[in-house]
């Protein structure tokens, strides 16, 4: 990584400018600190306003996010803080989504904590800081940013999970989640260290260049021979050269696999999913909603940023060194195990937890397909020259866009479903068993309808956004893929049918079973109904407005894989111009894959 020399004068203005680019993230982080300060220093009566302060800050961040979202200057990606973070359409979409999801959690968390008598002033602050970390993952352009983002988010969520001090399962869930999460972080870090050893960079750009070189420029034979020629005394230097030259790939492959394992843990893919149902069940339900939405979005964003965009050279996605085969297998296991385990659950929270695992399985299919397509694009770039437009690049963009779309649609519906669960737990015991949901539609038709819409969206029934999410995802994976992936798509469709069974079971219970004699006690306040109304509304509206949403996601996909290069439209123009002014002699194939194009 080459840095411009430090010149404090330009740095001061550059820092302020970069903070402007990062306004949504900066506001959310600042508000995390602000809320901590108001909790500690404000008079006791003033603490009542914590939720309002938090919502005001999040609204501010949302508005800031909207201005960046609509600004074409960011289409190609703008690097900030010397390439540490990047602002592009991909991160702009994630900013808006994450801020929205955080606001949804904030609206419910306070009511829930007060009703269950474990109210504490840090809750809003921790939610903001966790969201700040998730946003940093979305903006990550450097392994350090990725690591810090994931840790900022995770550590805050450990506290949130364990904050319910008057219920034993909460602390137990926190301990399980913490031990597993910290273990995964350590593995992630070792993987990062090996990647750094292999490529000599922590910035994604540098890593992509290093990855391309790791398999092609193996030896610096002359240097090595010279070092060995100097006899035994020079052997340490020679062994350094061996690592720098020959053993790059030997460091790279374990590094990629360790990082992959850690990230798959964070998104709770099978077989690293064991913590998920326990942590989801033991956590206060609004925090569960937060984990199922914000944390999952951040995990998928990390997979897209690092694996699809950076580790998608041809060598790394094809046998024998490829990681995509392993992830395809993990996707197969994840959706199967998630769905089958969900069918057996009577506890609604665990049911939704397992169903969230199943959704990760579908998403991983998209990740695999996108990486495969980009790998092929990388190979054809290597043979056709840097500016070639290939169908596989387009297919990869489409796959990334559909993954992005799917995770957004999933997160919105999931938030709505978990918030409804939180809402239905007004007294000391939460109504988590399915029978307690019987006949809910008669007592609370509005909330039952909202829950039904969210569940149907998760299930993928046609008018809902979830249907279009699944349709675009599966189509992007199915077209142009190899038969194995096509088989997995068919398998995913079968899984979706299994999923329909347990979602519909809950819907049927709400609408057609006779209600229990004692009415369920629900949370006071308008927070939860408002969140459910908005999420249910979005679950319908995103389905109707699918085409503009998909276009936007496609733009995000294009920019994020090739920052800050020419946009696809410009690439097409360039290609057409080259075609019209073409030289009749055939072009000489380039010898090296050109990284970063």
């Amino acid at each position: 990584m080459t840095h411009a020399p430090f010149v404090a004068d330009t740095m001061a203005s550059a820092t302020l400018q970069d903070l402007g680019h990062l306004a949504p993230m900066a506001i959310v982080g600042l508000w995390g600190l602000l809320l901590m300060a108001t909790d500690a220093f404000a008079a006791v009566g003033f603490r009542h306003f914590q939720r309002r302060i938090a919502l005001f800050g999040l609204a501010l961040a949302f508005v800031a996010g909207l201005t960046i979202y609509g600004n074409a200057d960011y289409d190609g990606g703008v690097e900030v803080f010397r390439g540490f973070l990047v602002v592009d359409p991909f991160s702009a979409i994630l900013d808006l989504v994450l801020v929205g999801l955080c606001a949804g959690t904030v609206l419910v968390a306070g009511d829930y904590a007060r009703t269950h008598r474990f109210e504490y002033g840090e809750q809003e602050s921790l939610l903001c800081i966790a969201t700040f970390g998730a946003m940093m993952v979305g903006h990550a352009h450097d392994l350090l940013a990725l690591f810090l983002g994931i840790e900022t988010m995770s550590i805050s969520v450990y506290v949130l999970v364990g904050a319910r001090w008057n219920a034993k399962p909460s602390a137990e869930a926190a301990l399980k989640y913490f031990l597993m999460g910290a273990f995964a972080s350590a593995i992630l870090l070792m993987g990062i260290a090996l990647l750094y050893g292999a490529t000599g960079a922590t910035a994604f750009e540098g890593i992509r260049g290093g990855v391309a070189e790791a398999f092609t420029r193996w030896l610096r034979i002359n240097d090595l021979a010279r070092a060995l020629d100097q006899g035994h005394t020079a052997s340490p230097a020679a062994s350094d050269l061996v690592i720098q030259g020959v053993a790059k790939a030997a460091l790279l492959i374990p590094g990629v696999l360790l990082v992959l394992g850690a990230l798959l843990f964070k998104v709770s893919a099978v077989p690293m999913h064991m913590w998920t149902p326990d942590a989801y069940e033991g956590a206060p339900t609004p925090v569960t909603a937060f984990m199922a939405s914000v944390v999952k979005v951040a995990g998928v964003a990390a997979l897209l940023r690092l694996f699809v965009a950076t580790f998608s050279t041809h060598r790394l996605v094809t046998a024998p060194y490829g990681w995509t085969t392993a992830v395809a297998l993990v996707a197969f296991l994840t959706m199967t195990v998630g769905n089958l385990a969900a069918v057996r659950q009577s506890n609604v929270k665990r049911l939704l937890a397992y169903s969230s695992i199943a959704h990760v399985g579908y998403l991983l299919l998209g990740v695999v397909a996108a990486a495969n397509f980009y790998g092929e694009a990388f190979a054809s770039d290597a043979t056709l020259g840097g500016d070639g437009l290939s169908w596989s690049r387009d297919a990869g963009d489409t796959a990334v866009a559909s993954v992005l779309l799917y995770i957004v649609v999933y997160a919105v519906a999931s938030l709505g479903a978990f918030v409804t669960v939180a809402w239905l737990s007004g007294n000391k015991h939460e109504a988590l068993e399915a029978y307690q949901w019987s006949g809910l539609a008669r007592r609370h038709p509005g909330m039952a309808l909202g829950m039904t819409v969210c569940l149907l969206s998760l299930m993928g029934l046609p008018p809902m956004a979830g249907f279009f999410g699944k349709l675009f995802l599966f189509r992007a994976v199915f077209e142009n893929s190899n038969p194995w992936l096509q088989f997995l798509v068919v398998w995913a469709l079968l899984n979706a049918v299994v999923g329909a069974y347990y979602y519909l079971r809950l819907v049927v219970a709400m609408y057609f079973h006779t209600p229990p004699k004692t009415a369920p006690v629900v949370l006071p306040g308008k927070g939860a109904p408002a969140v459910v109304a908005v999420t249910a509304g979005l679950s319908v509206a995103l389905g109707v407005l699918m085409q503009p949403t998909l276009d936007r996601a496609d733009l995000a996909a294009r920019a994020f894989n090739y920052p800050p290069g020419p946009s696809k439209a410009r690439r097409v123009d360039g290609l057409r111009a080259a075609w019209e002014a073409r030289d009749p002699t055939p072009p000489v194939a380039a010898e090296e894959p050109s990284p970063g194009t």
Partner: protein, 100 residues
């Protein structure tokens, strides 16, 4: 000059001891200590590679890892103390409230 491979051996050894501790020990405190060991193994590797490549990215990373490890340990210890107060031991095999 110590060759890079020696640092790597040290890092991998520490990392494997940490992994072994996480997988084999049943006391949550020991598991936490093993995780810290793994983080430090990664730090050794980062700093060694930083010297190998002649840039400072790895050392900067190590600084941040130290800070993150402290924050993680603080939260982890707090959770372990909370568990200890309710049940007098922190054996992770005894965590049976949440299961299928």
């Amino acid at each position: 000059m110590v060759p890079i491979t020696h640092f790597l051996y040290l890092a991998i050894l520490l990392f494997l001891i940490g992994v072994g501790g996480v997988l084999l020990r049943r006391n949550a405190l020991f598991v936490l200590m093993s995780i810290e060991l793994m983080l430090n193994a990664a730090n050794v590797a980062l700093v060694a590679f930083s010297r190998l490549h002649g840039n400072h990215d790895g050392q900067v990373f190590a600084f941040f890892v130290i800070a993150v490890a402290a924050a993680e340990a603080a939260v982890g210890l707090a959770i372990i103390v909370a568990i200890f107060r309710s049940r007098d031991d922190v054996d992770i095999d005894d965590l049976g409230l949440l299961r299928d």
